[in-house]
């Protein structure tokens, strides 16, 4: 019998935390070491259905699988659930495509020091997107709970706040100390896209810089697509197994997408294109201008190569590479 009064958050839990249901899925998920090369359009067509709950790796405008994000908009996926963990530019683009109808929110409408996304903010303020509140750590732990094959993890944040009240969390009593903890439901997304530095054709991946929760995300998600700056031979993976960040068995498809995080930052590769991100933020102030802009940038570009070309191509990428490495000047290219 409980000795303390335990509260529950009042908002909706969008996903099923039952570990036996997840196990049943994972039992039938292929874990074979087989080549998994695919294309962006095929992956988005075959691996995401309207109404699915999706998650995007990286940190909003850092190591973000932007080719997949654009293609979700281009293919007009609808009513998606979204893990708004540490999302910024990715959420901005997806809301631009009206793809999202429900969202676990930790951080979404802001772009950190750059300000807020007017369009994403509008959508949220109009009630177009149903929100359940969480925090960055909590979404990390919800993914970790799933990666561990559990239904929940205990923690000590969120207690006593409206963030808790408008979440779907529950309080529990620690069986050892009698103290009150929060219990967070495991989050098993239907689909996750993660951009990495290097991957082999089986999906063994390497990542540098901000890892956020992507190791847990790859494990927690039912279907996982990897976009990678570079494909590498498996021999290279086998020469340094300590460097494998995500193992092949988590991965369903692999696609080589150079500059795939653009306009986001890719650590040790290229810095973010702040001017282009600012363009998004500025044009969003006027809904019609934004519709024209996203038409030109996303709907009317055939693929991510065209988007890169539209925004400066190889010359721009070289410039961002120099910025990343703090190299002054134009690198002699002009």
């Amino acid at each position: 019998m409980q000795t303390i009064d335990l509260k529950s958050g009042r908002n909706e839990l969008f996903t099923d935390p039952d570990p036996d249901h997840a196990r049943e899925f994972f039992r039938n998920k292929s874990r074979a070491l087989k080549p998994k090369l695919s294309t962006v359009s095929k992956v988005v067509r075959d691996m995401i259905s309207d109404g699915d709950y999706i998650a995007i790796g990286g940190f909003g405008a850092i190591r973000v699988p932007n080719a997949i994000v654009h293609e979700i908009v281009r293919q007009g996926k609808k009513n998606l659930g979204f893990a708004g963990h540490t999302s910024t530019h990715d959420f901005q683009v997806l809301v631009g495509g009206n793809c999202i109808s429900k969202c676990d929110i930790a951080y979404i409408v802001g772009l950190e020091a750059r300000g807020l996304s007017p369009n994403a903010r509008r959508a949220v303020q109009n009630g177009e997107i149903q929100l359940t509140e969480w925090t960055n750590a909590t979404l990390s732990w919800r993914l970790k709970a799933a990666a561990m094959g559990l239904s929940f993890l205990p923690a000590r944040n969120m207690l006593g706040t409206d963030t808790f009240n408008y979440s779907a969390a529950k309080e529990i009593e620690c069986p050892y100390t009698g103290k009150k903890f929060a219990a967070y439901p495991a989050l098993y997304p239907d689909f996750a896209a993660i951009h990495v530095h290097e991957a082999d054709e089986y999906g063994n991946c390497r990542v540098r810089g901000a890892t956020v929760s992507d190791q847990d995300l790859a494990r927690a998600s039912k279907r996982v697509v990897i976009t990678t700056e570079r494909l590498v031979p498996t021999e290279e993976i086998r020469n340094n197994p300590e460097g494998t960040f995500i193992p092949f068995w988590c991965v369903d498809a692999v696609i080589e997408v150079p500059y795939g995080s653009y306009p986001g930052n890719m650590p040790y590769e290229y810095f973010s294109d702040e001017a282009h991100i600012k363009e998004w933020l500025t044009v969003e102030k006027d809904p019609q201008a934004f519709r024209d802009f996203i038409k030109k940038q996303v709907y009317d570009t055939k693929d991510f190569y065209e988007y890169l070309a539209l925004n400066g191509g190889i010359e721009k990428m070289s410039k961002l590479r120099r910025e990343e490495f703090l190299i002054n000047g134009n690198g002699g290219g002009e």
Binding site: G110, V124, T135, W141, G209, F271
Partner: protein, 256 residues
């Protein structure tokens, strides 16, 4: 005495609270500037951490994001968000800085929304991000903010991040870690702490050029006052020089 603006004052005063050998989780902007200033003055071994995983970088410039490449530049550790948050939860992180649209007398902070309908807020802000986590799990929470009576309010529209909740022991009774909580609020007008028993906000020192009346007039709730109310030591020459020349030469923060 030097000329300085509000932001410079708040950064210099806040930085003095970060002692050498301590750990601090910071976001972009003023908190990062204050921590860098502390490193370059009295706390060379202040360990700066970012929630995206960067630990003890040698920051080449002000980061745009708490996860961008700068936060990992020559760092001692490239960790993950759960590891950083668990390090806070384990009690290894001394300080953090938060911001928000509203703060109340117990140091609770709203960075989520204005309005009374969560499903359709009048104004939506980013939400917690890592704010609730850091406010819950770090030992000492600080805030730098310009003060007015709308921001310093009797009742928050939404408690995003916990301060001392309803005061007294309520924070710990809710299950939050014992001994943690709001520490200092540095405004353009004053430096506040919290009363040990009631946990209500208490003015500790008054900034140059302001009066008790100014401070209370620009606060939407009744402030407590330290028995020995002090004058805030204004920014020193060398603090301002280092802040302007080394920490934020492009005036990203101090030019706001």
């Amino acid at each position: 005495m030097s000329d300085y603006n509000d932001m410079e004052l708040m950064i210099c005063v806040a930085a003095r609270n970060l002692e050498d050998g301590a750990t601090v989780v910071v976001g972009t902007g003023a908190p990062c500037a204050a921590s860098m200033l502390a490193q370059k003055t009295h706390s060379p071994n202040l360990c700066i951490m970012f929630e995206a995983g960067g630990v003890a970088p040698i920051l080449p410039s002000m980061p745009i994001s708490v996860g961008d490449s700068r936060t990992f530049h020559k760092a001692l550790l490239a960790s993950s968000m759960p590891d950083i948050m668990e390090t806070c939860q384990r009690g290894m992180v001394d300080y953090t800085f938060l911001g928000g649209a509203q703060i109340d007398m117990f140091g609770n902070i709203n960075s989520t929304m204005i309005g009374d309908d969560h499903a359709k807020p009048k104004v939506r802000f980013p939400g917690s991000g890592g704010a609730n986590d850091l406010a819950s799990l770090c030992w000492n929470v600080m805030m730098m903010t310009v003060q007015d009576s709308k921001r310093f309010t009797e009742k928050l529209d939404f408690i995003t991040s916990p301060g001392y909740l309803t005061g007294g022991n309520s924070r710990y009774e809710a299950g939050l870690p014992e001994g943690s909580g709001p520490f200092k609020i540095v405004t353009n007008m004053a430096v506040m702490g919290f009363d040990e028993e009631t946990k209500r906000m208490k003015v500790l020192s008054v900034n140059p050029g302001y009066t008790r009346q100014d401070i209370q007039d620009n606060c939407g709730f009744e402030l407590l006052w330290a028995d020995k109310l002090e004058d805030t030591d204004p920014p020193h020459e060398n603090e301002l020089r280092i802040l302007r020349e080394e920490v934020d030469p492009h005036k990203y923060i101090i030019g706001r």
